[in-house]
Assembly symmetry: C3
Homo-oligomer: 157 residues x 3
């Protein structure tokens, strides 16, 4: 374990991140990231083929705020609801400033009539840093295994 | 982390709780709770609308025992089987006596022919206390995202 | 917690194990096991009926290597992809050499067209030991709740 960020802190960060989305408190979502950051959504197929471009790309916290603002404006109707289930983080590298880690996720979509469906699975490929005493996401590449990519664009993953 | 109950102890409590149900050792289920407790099953819709009533409600360990006894009597046939997958607990508050935490869950139902289906997702909204040296559930509000509410009544969640 | 292997080390082992399979780095899979080990795949029904035989059985690391070699030879086409989501390990016993633990798992299969399906759920019933300073699996009995048993034979679980 690094001195910078421990296992429990990482697990806790991921849980709060997931709850933020699942509780539809999206305005708080950008605060999980460093001011200068990378948030990218891509697919395992794209990664395998070496495609750099993501389906979604943002590199400042301000862009993440913009994204949520647009989403709120576009959604006249109550948004779909989601439930994340997240594995424990697997730390792949660490140094004095933070850790690299990967975490598997599973997202269930809850339909209006209460029906549940498998929405997306994949992994977060992360760089988590100690940002003035608070663990924040410096880089999160969301690698989706599959799923309905069009719909994926609507909410943060 | 509180001195009262640590992260690992919470994670361990949740795992043993899930295994107790999944292994059909339901007679041991009430022992996860304090003698005076709250166990309530409700839905995210009900919470959003401010409805206080739950689909299931018990406020003593004895009521939980009664519930299992009724369930055993009613189930002439072998019960359905379930598999819980549970996230790490997200601690939302803590004091000297215990912690408040929320934990996402996903429950799969296993049919007789081996088919798997998404049964329920949601979160536990918990108060976990140090009960004479043992971590016990003082309050567990099971907030279901959706799913077949009628069927939910059959087994503890 | 045992002195031999702590909770985080167990969680980390399980995560690396799952990633190894999900990333299709199967050649590294046998290294998670002790040289003399037990890897068995069975079903909850078989366990209940007291059947000792497993669908898959190996008791040396060399047999696990053989299994992967056969799998690679048989799979002319790109294999299906999988995503494991794994609970925290529940430690059931511990001594100076290692721990016994059980861990719930959920495996999603990703089809070619990106469709996701519930592939398998179950639990790992493990003996994890300190193998010259490294946590390794001495015994892993994979107890599947159900699912398509024929297909289960293709990849490690």
């Amino acid at each position: 374990m690094t001195e910078a960020i421990g296992f429990q802190e990482l697990a806790n960060l991921n849980d709060r991140y997931a709850r933020c989305i699942d509780e539809n408190q999206l305005e708080e979502w950008p605060d999980f990231f460093s001011e200068h950051c990378l948030y990218k959504v891509t697919t395992a197929d794209n990664v395998r083929r070496g495609y750099q471009a993501g389906l979604i790309y943002a590199d400042t916290r301000a862009m993440l705020h913009d994204r949520i603002a647009s989403l709120r404006q576009a959604n006249v109707y109550e948004p779909q609801r989601y439930r994340h289930v997240i594995s424990a983080p697997a730390i792949t590298a660490e140094d004095a400033d933070g850790v690299d880690c990967e975490t598997a996720f599973l997202i269930i979509r809850i339909m209006r009539d209460g029906t549940l469906s498998l929405f997306a699975t994949g992994k977060y490929v992360d760089r988590i840093v100690n940002d003035n005493g608070k663990a924040r996401i410096n880089r999160r590449v969301v690698v989706c295994d599959g799923g309905n990519v069009d719909t994926l664009l609507a909410i943060p993953l």
